[in-house]
């Protein structure tokens, strides 16, 4: 390691800037046999087949059979075709879960994005401590979910939570944040917005860095104020990055189980149950595990996530071409 010539290391080590133009036409030495290349990829391929493809296949199989806990152990579950899918679509929980999933994802990403963008624009200016404080904003994103979720659960506690204590101080009535059917979903959305702000801030901030400073100088010379600069310059130029941030946020938010499960377990009733928590509850929640409908809900979730995922990949490709 120490024998590596220093200049080379710094050159490749600082990958922020594009590599210097190569002397020769840029082509990889391609006489290396494909066999060797594939040998290096083999562990990954085996890994993907065993630990991605196989669980997903098992999951499809679960959803097409009627797996009771006993059939699970014996391995003699009855094949029922698409019955589990028909059941979940006909289930009384379906409409509620669909509405909650939509409210949870849209509510979360709309506010995360707005707050993240406002903060990114604010932190774009260089002031004292700006880098340090921006770094501190990452903390919610790095904390283990159980830590954040239990902290919010305690803050939202009806009797002893700090939030109700604050409401009492200003003369408002306390709210049963996690135990009232009308508010539980809002409470988990608030916590999830808090969790997602760092991610939005970081991506949008890095997007802002790619807007040349001369544009702003020219705009100031033309007498545009900060508000106009934002709406006529920043926001339009940031559109591709915004689209990507929102889509990634959407895909992440669709998957959320742990936050909701730890705070409300999807309740009271199923007032804060999303597709992801519904699936988790059927399979691993209290009571008898019901893997087959759980797998059906899970596969439905995959289809939705992948649909948005493909849109995301399409957009990213477009962005790269620009």
């Amino acid at each position: 390691m120490t024998t590596t010539p220093a200049p080379v290391r710094t050159r490749a080590g600082d990958r922020a800037a594009p590599a210097a133009p190569p002397l020769r036409p840029r082509r990889r030495p391609n006489d290396t046999s494909q066999w060797i290349a594939w040998a290096f990829v083999t562990p990954l391929m085996i890994y993907l087949v065993l630990f991605y493809a196989f669980p997903l296949y098992r999951n499809i199989e679960l959803s097409l059979h009627d797996y009771t806990p006993r059939a699970f152990v014996r391995g003699n579950a009855e094949f029922v075709g698409f019955q589990n899918y028909a059941d979940i679509f006909g289930s009384s929980s379906f409409a509620k879960a669909a509405t909650n999933t939509a409210l949870f994802t849209i509510g979360s990403i709309a506010f995360q994005y707005a707050a993240g963008l406002a903060l990114a624009v604010f932190f774009r200016a260089n002031f004292k401590l700006s880098a340090v404080l921006r770094g501190l904003f990452l903390i919610p994103w790095l904390l283990p979910m159980i830590v954040s979720a239990s902290a919010w659960a305690w803050m939202f506690n009806s009797d002893n939570g700090i939030i109700n204590a604050a409401l009492r101080v200003v003369g408002l009535d306390p709210v049963n944040w996690l135990t009232s059917p009308d508010v539980a979903l809002t409470s988990v959305i608030i916590a999830n917005i808090w969790l997602g702000i760092p991610f939005n801030l970081v991506i949008l901030y890095s997007g802002l860095q790619n807007i040349p400073a001369d544009y702003y100088e020219a705009a100031s010379l033309d007498g545009a104020n900060a508000w106009q600069q934002f709406w006529r310059l920043t926001f339009p130029l940031l559109k591709p990055v915004s689209a990507i941030t929102l889509l990634l946020g959407l895909i992440y938010t669709l998957k959320v189980v742990d936050l909701i499960w730890i705070m409300t377990a999807g309740g009271p009733g199923d007032t804060s149950t999303t597709f992801a928590t519904w699936s988790y509850r059927e399979a691993f929640g209290a009571g008898n595990p019901d893997f087959s409908p759980a797998a059906a809900v899970g596969n439905l979730l995959i289809v939705v996530a992948l649909a948005f995922g493909l849109i995301y990949l399409q957009m990213q490709r477009k962005l790269e071409k620009q």
Binding site: P29, F40, F127, M145, A283, G298, I302
Partner: protein, 272 residues
Amino acid sequence: MTGTRSLWKTLIALALTAIMLFPVYWIVNVSLTKTSNLRRSPPSLLPLDPTLEGYVAAFSQQLPQLGTSLLVGVGTVLLTLVVAAPASYAMATLNLKGRQGLSFILLVAQMIPAVVMAMGFYAIYLKLGLLNSLWGLILADSTIAIPFAVLLLQAFMSGVPTELLQAAKLDGSGVWRTFVSIILPLSRNSLLTVSLFAFLWAWSDFIFASTLNRSGDLIPITLGIYKFIGNNTTQWNAIMATAVIASIPAAILLVVAQRYVAAGVTAGAVKD
């Protein structure tokens, strides 16, 4: 920009950071509160009468869980590196045919909800007897990190100058030697980034822990806290003390490697 305007911005930024980090402060505050004061209304905003009883309870009950999480985290990092680094090397520098298809698969793999993976793993582990085992948990946790690791590493390795690889070849260095003595040392920073994230994700994982390792002797800290909450809702100081301890790796990560954390968040999002 004038000095006063900059000062104002700093003050506003401090206020915003304080609001944002209030829940984090609250975790620390509650962790230092006496059990008898937990139900006081309104709660004390400052730990004026601090106690370590929460931490004593946390350490006496959660030490094995912390150890388990450490093992799972380290295991996940090693597995991730062993699988991802050679593959990234081949994708980046060996002209691998099918590289684009593989990248696509890895991007899509990252979008699969963990709860779905957990069910598949559960069904498989039940047959293999891997439920409630550390190995099972390490394998499952690594699925969070490996696609990300390959994409990040191969993006970095593609930037290694071609001339360097050709020079190595002229010197008679084989593919394996080039990988070990040129590519790996050069990729130190991105290997570090990948390791940090793999560790943090494995350490923080709740879904796999709560499904694949529910009743084992060795449960990770995330599940330790969850069961702690379920068993005693009166001792929130101890719960929050455990939460503080469980957040140490995240804190270290932020202090030691803030630059890489931001790089990791943006990798695969804006450019990959």
